[in-house]
């Protein structure tokens, strides 16, 4: 039951992390909270020769909210800090909710939102809302910093667009536009401790009584967290009456590509996409002030 042996490296800057990654290649793994990585070591699914700990890099723990620009969540900001942050709860309630719905108290006191994203599980609870809100990742590599839309980050289960010498240093979420509402809805067989079978995140922006812009993101029903683009189109320019919401929910279910596994069957997942999309749209509508 003990962990396999490894070397522990504690760089003091993000630049140093990139240098170490370049030197060590695949033999090194970056660790924030460790709640996924150490489990995979314990199960011998992963055998890195070295672990690069990020916790010593103080700026990475910051959560910064700027009323004019938006929200920045650092790579080592804890799920529990995001869940209880006053500005996030007020301006980004679905982001706080998703963080609060991830795992257990203890895991939220150790694990990070960025780590949940970087592990790239199709079911990551924090991904759908962030996708729906148009979040971007701030990525640092040997050649400097760049920004990448989250929608282009996920490449497959556990696979991301990160290069060999790159790490995510923070996550940026734009301000929600005026008259918009966001929501995250999820479902799992064993309450919140288990990984979600399906999650739906949405952001709708209204113009008068009509929906000007909609984003619907689905988790746990495709190899990566995905946007249901056809469903989004069904909402655009429409009033959010029950028929339209129902049509959109069914369209989202049709677009999903679920598989059957230990958590749920493909059929159940597809049905739940419709249910959760409906719930998410109704909550988002309410939050948009309608």
């Amino acid at each position: 039951m003990t962990l396999p042996k490894f070397e522990y490296l504690a760089p003091e800057t993000a630049e140093e992390v990139c240098r170490l990654l370049k030197e060590r290649g695949k033999a090194a793994k970056v660790m924030a909270g460790g709640t996924d990585l150490l489990v995979s070591l314990r199960n011998r699914q992963s055998r890195p020769a070295a672990i690069i700990g990020l916790k010593g890099i103080k700026p990475l723990a910051l959560i910064v909210f700027d009323k004019k620009k938006g929200l920045s969540i650092g790579a080592t900001a804890l799920l529990s800090d995001v869940a209880s942050h006053k500005d996030i709860s007020k301006m980004y309630p679905a982001i706080a909710y998703a963080a609060r719905q991830t795992a257990t108290v203890q895991i939220r006191n150790m694990g990070t939102v960025v780590g949940n994203i970087c592990n790239a599980a199709p079911s990551a609870d924090n991904a759908p809302t962030l996708l729906a809100m148009g979040a971007e990742l701030i990525i640092m590599g040997i050649r400097g910093e760049k920004r990448l839309p989250l929608a282009r980050f996920f490449k497959g289960p556990g696979i991301t667009a990160l290069g060999k010498d790159e790490i995510v240093i923070s996550l940026f979420v734009p301000l929600p536009p005026p008259h918009s509402g966001i929501s995250y809805q999820h479902i799992s067989a064993r309450g919140k401790v288990d990984i979600s079978a399906v999650g739906v995140g949405t952001m709708i922006t209204m113009e008068g009584k009509k929906c000007k812009y909609a984003r619907i993101a689905l988790g746990g029903v495709a190899p990566v967290p995905m946007l249901a683009k056809k469903a989004e189109k069904r909402l655009t320019g429409k009033m959010l009456i029950p028929d339209v919401i129902e049509e959109t929910a069914l369209q989202a279910a049709e677009e999903s590509k679920p598989i059957s596994d230990v958590r749920a069957s493909a059929e159940y997942r597809r049905k739940m996409v419709a249910v959760l999309t409906r719930r998410a749209l109704l909550e988002a509508k309410k939050r948009a002030g309608l």
């Binding site: 042996k5 522990y8 795992a103 150790m110």
Partner: protein, 157 residues
Amino acid sequence: MKHSISLKVNGDTYHLAVDPWKTLNEVLREELNLTGTKLGCGTGDCGACTVLVDGRSVSSCLTLAVEMDGKEITTVEGLAPSGERLHPIQKAFIEKAAIQCGYCTPGMELSALYLLKNNPSPTEEEIREAISGNLCRCTGYKKIVEAIAAAAKEMKE
């Protein structure tokens, strides 16, 4: 290579040299002989290994000791430092018969402590939510919830 760390456990400072792959759970139990903290699943699911690090509840089985330099840790032994006067949470667990086999008890009590420090008057729902990361294999949850509610009342007085 061993790393030298200094950490405070239940108020006592220790200077240790630890292998990087040693968990806080192993160091507490095997090097400091604080065996009150248990090891269950080893994967952060059961909560038997729960301790407080700088006041936050964490799974000691998924915490590397090397990252504990300068941290303050509270284990179940820290609830009743003298060994004579029990903490109100411990008393409530005994009075309400919230202990069966006892294996989950240290973790449950620390999750309770973390809850009551942040929320002195929790509802039953909030208590259940707070211990959702702690499994009781004897399934004695009802008594545990009652004990935490009783401890909350006692600690406010």
